[in-house]
């Protein structure tokens, strides 16, 4: 690539923008910003910078753009596709010092936040106000990283992905220009929808420096259930029928037996080791929740489920949710010496049973341990494959079956990535999924960032 190496004079100039205490070339800092939570090979940045306001970000970008230095944004580094790995080195902008809640406007159900704020910290602050920011990827993700990846979570089936919960953004473009988009009103049709071009762009079009997020009221009542099935495919069918029935679950998660075993081992929850659905409803009255849970129950009974456990109490609910949030990490811990890859396909909900059965038989036939789970209500399926680190033969097989699963999902009208983003790992599927549209995405990239300094090496094949 045509990028310039970071030289002493560059470092000095950047230090004069942020102060020398907020730039580092120390190896431990570089290493901390060289990898995310995926198995993609680490790549060291040449320096890490901790900006504290939009002016600094703007000055840095203007400088980097002029000197052709790559710039990659960094939230918490919890991505699963190599999204924040600085593959062309250069600068990493770490937003951990821009982590403030600027303002909460309770009566408008809105908050203004800085990008480095972890969504859990926002929700903690909102707890006693009866409000929350719905997207919940589980890991300690920042709002900036969630906007960049358009992250989802367990509650997305009811409350939408990050995209559905953003009203206004301030973004710094590659040339340092500061752009405000959207407004604090509930909707706008003023000009082109620029906001949505930044959401999900994985930091390749601009750097988010503040955001107005939409909040929701905590429901007055919850109702939680787990239910077991004879096989994973039937659980998938139940998902389809629940979604089709119009009873609007707030969570609908699938856990295959191998996931339950991992959870039981680490959390001692003593769950029945069989294909399980976690179902939750949010609503205003217990009576109404009873009614919708009854429908869910009927659907599952119709599919010969066993042990439909309703009325799960608060404490157990928290335990189950935490286990679900931590599942990916627990799987990894149970395979020392192995690396992993996470499949993140999403398909039309009617094809959910089909993709599950296809993916599981691929994994079985290849003899590779695969863990099936996912945000089933969204048609989003995760499959974690574990392979011995460095075992090239095994990884060739894993890559091959992953590819087959993604291609099958796309042929079913689905997508290579429901929520983790393209990053490094899914670039190879972009052409198959988007055809000619990919050319137009590239045109957008060139238009926003002509020198290609923002998070280079991502999204495009």
């Amino acid at each position: 690539m045509k990028f310039n190496l970071l030289e002493g004079r560059h470092l000095k100039d950047i230090a004069s923008i942020v102060g020398s205490d907020r730039i580092s070339t120390g190896i431990s800092n570089l290493e901390l910003h060289s990898r995310d939570q995926s198995q993609h090979p680490p790549s060291l940045p040449e320096a890490v910078v901790w900006p504290v306001n939009r002016t600094e970000v703007s000055d840095i970008l203007r400088y980097a753009n002029r000197h052709l230095i790559p710039v990659t944004g960094w939230g918490s580094g919890t991505s699963l596709e190599g999204n924040p790995i600085p593959v062309f080195n250069g600068l990493v902008l770490d937003f951990s010092l821009m982590n403030k809640i600027i303002e909460i406007r309770e009566s408008d159900f809105q908050a203004d936040v800085e990008p480095g704020l972890a969504y859990q910290d926002l929700n903690e602050k909102l707890r006693h106000k009866g409000l929350f920011f719905p997207p919940d990827p589980g890991a300690r993700a920042t709002i900036g990283g969630m906007i960049a990846n358009n992250a989802s979570g367990i509650r997305t089936v009811r409350y939408g992905s990050t995209r559905a919960n953003i009203l206004r953004l301030t973004v710094v473009l590659a040339d340092g220009e500061v752009l405000e988009m959207g407004c604090r009103a509930s909707k706008t049709s003023s000009g082109y929808d620029l906001i949505n071009s930044f959401i999900g762009s994985e930091g390749t079009l601009g750097i988010v420096v503040d955001a107005t997020v939409r909040l929701r009221g905590w429901p007055e009542e919850f109702s939680t259930a787990t239910v077991n099935f004879g096989d994973v495919e039937t659980a998938g069918k139940a998902v389809f029928e629940i979604m089709r029935s119009g009873i609007e679950p707030a969570s609908l998660e699938l856990l295959a037996p191998e996931c339950i075993s991992v959870i039981n081992r680490e959390k001692k929850l003593g769950m029945e080791v069989s294909p399980t659905l976690f179902i939750e409803f949010h609503g205003a009255s217990g009576k109404q929740l009873e009614y919708v849970m009854g429908i869910a129950n009927e659907i599952c009974e119709g599919l010969d489920c066993y042990d439909f456990r309703q009325g799960i109490e608060r404490k157990e609910r928290e335990e189950l949710l935490n286990a679900r949030y931590e599942l990916a990490e627990m799987i990894r811990r149970s395979h020392p010496g192995c690396s992993h890859i996470v499949i993140d396909v999403a398909v039309p909900i009617s094809a959910y049973p089909e993709i599950i059965s296809m993916a599981r038989s691929e994994s079985r036939n290849a003899g590779i341990p695969g863990y099936t789970f996912g945000h089933a209500g969204d048609g989003n399926l995760h499959l974690v494959f574990m392979g011995k680190t460095g075992d090239e033969k095994e990884w060739d097989i894993i890559d091959m079956i992953s590819k087959r699963i993604v291609e099958t999902a796309i042929s079913l009208g689905g997508t290579a990535t429901g929520e983790h983003g393209v990053g490094i790992g899914k670039r190879g599927f972009m052409k198959a999924e988007h055809g000619r549209s990919l050319v137009w995405m590239k045109k957008i990239k060139d238009l926003y960032d002509p020198n290609g300094i923002l998070n280079p090496g991502k999204i495009f094949p």
Partner: protein, 460 residues
């Protein structure tokens, strides 16, 4: 003017029957709901994407404007051929291609009338929520191009929230597909939302994949009367804060109420100066419970009276009255400017106070109604062109209003788009950098500038 030789080529593409140039038609297709008129040179009715593509390629090489048109119900002049050229009517793209009941999605052509789609999906117990008050005439293509909202937006969101994917023809003639058929997907940039709301300036939409939701089994329509608008607006805040999300929360001020008072089959308290139209939907239990709670909240506030429709016929009559507000206002004065502003809900009281004060100051009637639940108020500035100074005052008031809206953190258009009527004010809301980026996007998609020229971006 498009030269005859080029018109012949267009005629070869679509067939002579589908290209018209007679003056009556030019009159009809040169106007929309703004009542402004610009005559096109010709109107073409393509029948498929291929034909659209051939026309676009021709337009880019021979350099004539192409203006896509749905039903012409737009309120900001989006479909007006302000620089002449070719109006491209999407009338023949009028098929519902598929209603996929298992995946709750449907595929439609852009010329399908909004209400027709709604009826078709409701027959199979599904629901397409966006419902602009113009739904009996507007097209889905026009809705997508304007990102239309509607009465139910407070609960269900706007058109953008339902568009999953598009097939579009670009000004260069290229046909691309954007988006997904899944409930979520994050692979690459969001071209679907970029084109949604672009007012026919980036691409001609030829097919649309929409998300549907299961049809709510029950609903209840209610009316609450208040002494004045600020009482009504306060009730709106109280209802929302109680965590009930009504499907509809519409406000009418005294002028609007008066204009449809006779059609109301309920006793309207004489001292009522504002009304809320409220609808809740969902399952039977929810609906009853929410309706009761809303009634209590309204009476706990300053409601003078409260009525509930007892059956669907009664509620349809209420709806009829609501839909007639906009047209009925024309009875009050010969001319009007309609604005479509949105402010954060908590600032609505300030907005209303401003409207009353400004109306008094300029001696103009300023009726307001609209989607109070999401802060979207349609403000109508009534005037009489014949009266000296009236029109000028009206224009000054508009400017003041828009400036005020921005100060309150709002937007100058919630759902009608920029078109030509709001183009002069775009820079009040968007920074120069934002407008610049938008115009560069426009240029990348439409290098020759032939697709719906003169819209959004203000010439001078």
């Amino acid at each position: 003017m498009i030269p005859d030789a080029i018109l012949d080529k267009i005629s070869d593409i679509v067939g002579a029957r589908h290209l018209i140039t007679d003056q009556d038609a030019m009159h009809e297709y040169g106007s929309d709901a703004t009542k402004l008129e610009f005559r096109p040179d010709a109107v073409v009715f393509p029948g498929n994407s291929r034909e659209v593509s051939d026309i676009m390629r021709l337009a880019t090489s021979a350099f004539f404007p192409v203006v896509p048109r749905g039903a012409g119900s737009g309120m900001s002049g989006g479909a007006l051929p302000v620089m002449g050229g070719l109006v491209m009517s999407m009338d023949r793209f009028n098929r519902i291609l598929e209603i996929d009941q298992s995946n709750l999605i449907c595929k439609v052509e852009p010329g399908v009338i909004t209400a027709h789609l709604q009826e078709a999906v409701e027959k199979v117990d599904l629901f397409y929520p966006p419902d602009p008050a113009s739904l009996n005439i507007s097209t889905i293509g026009g809705n997508v191009a304007e990102c239309a909202g509607g009465l139910r937006a407070v609960k269900y969101g706007v058109t953008r929230d339902y568009v999953l994917g598009l097939t579009v023809v670009l000004p260069t003639g290229e046909i691309i597909k954007t988006g997904v058929e899944t409930m979520k997907g994050v692979a690459g940039y969001d071209l679907t939302r970029l084109i949604t709301g672009s007012e026919g300036t980036l691409a001609v939409i030829t097919s649309i994949t929409l998300r549907l939701v299961p049809k709510p089994t029950h609903k209840k329509t209610m009316l609450a009367f208040f002494r004045d608008v600020s009482g009504a607006v306060q009730a709106v805040s109280i209802i929302i804060r109680s965590k009930i999300v009504p499907a509809v929360l519409e406000l009418m001020d005294r002028y609007c109420l008066d204009s449809v008072r006779e059609e109301m089959t309920y006793p309207v308290p004489v001292e009522a100066g504002a009304m809320l139209l409220i609808e809740v939907d969902g399952d039977a239990l929810n609906v009853e419970r929410d309706a009761e709670k809303i009634r209590d909240l309204c009476y706990g506030g300053s409601a003078l009276g409260f009525e509930s429709a007892s059956d669907s016929e009664e509620s349809e009559r209420i709806w009829e009255a609501r839909r007639n507000v906009s047209p009925s206002l024309n009875k009050l004065s010969p001319d009007k400017i309609s604005e479509d502003i949105v402010v954060p809900r908590s600032r609505m009281v300030e907005l209303i106070a401003f409207l009353e004060e400004a109306g008094r100051r300029y001696g103009l009637q300023v009726p307001a109604f609209g989607h109070a639940g999401d802060g979207n108020i349609h403000v109508n500035i009534l005037f009489d062109r014949e009266k000296p100074g009236d029109e000028e005052n009206a224009r000054i008031l508009v400017k003041e209003l828009l400036r005020h809206v921005i100060l309150l953190g709002g937007t100058i258009t919630g759902e009608h788009g920029i078109g030509i009527t709001k183009a002069p004010y775009l820079d009040m809301e968007l920074s120069a950098a934002g407008i610049d980026l938008m115009s560069r996007i426009k240029k990348a998609f439409d290098p020759a500038g032939i697709l719906n020229p003169g819209k959004i971006f203000h010439a001078g």
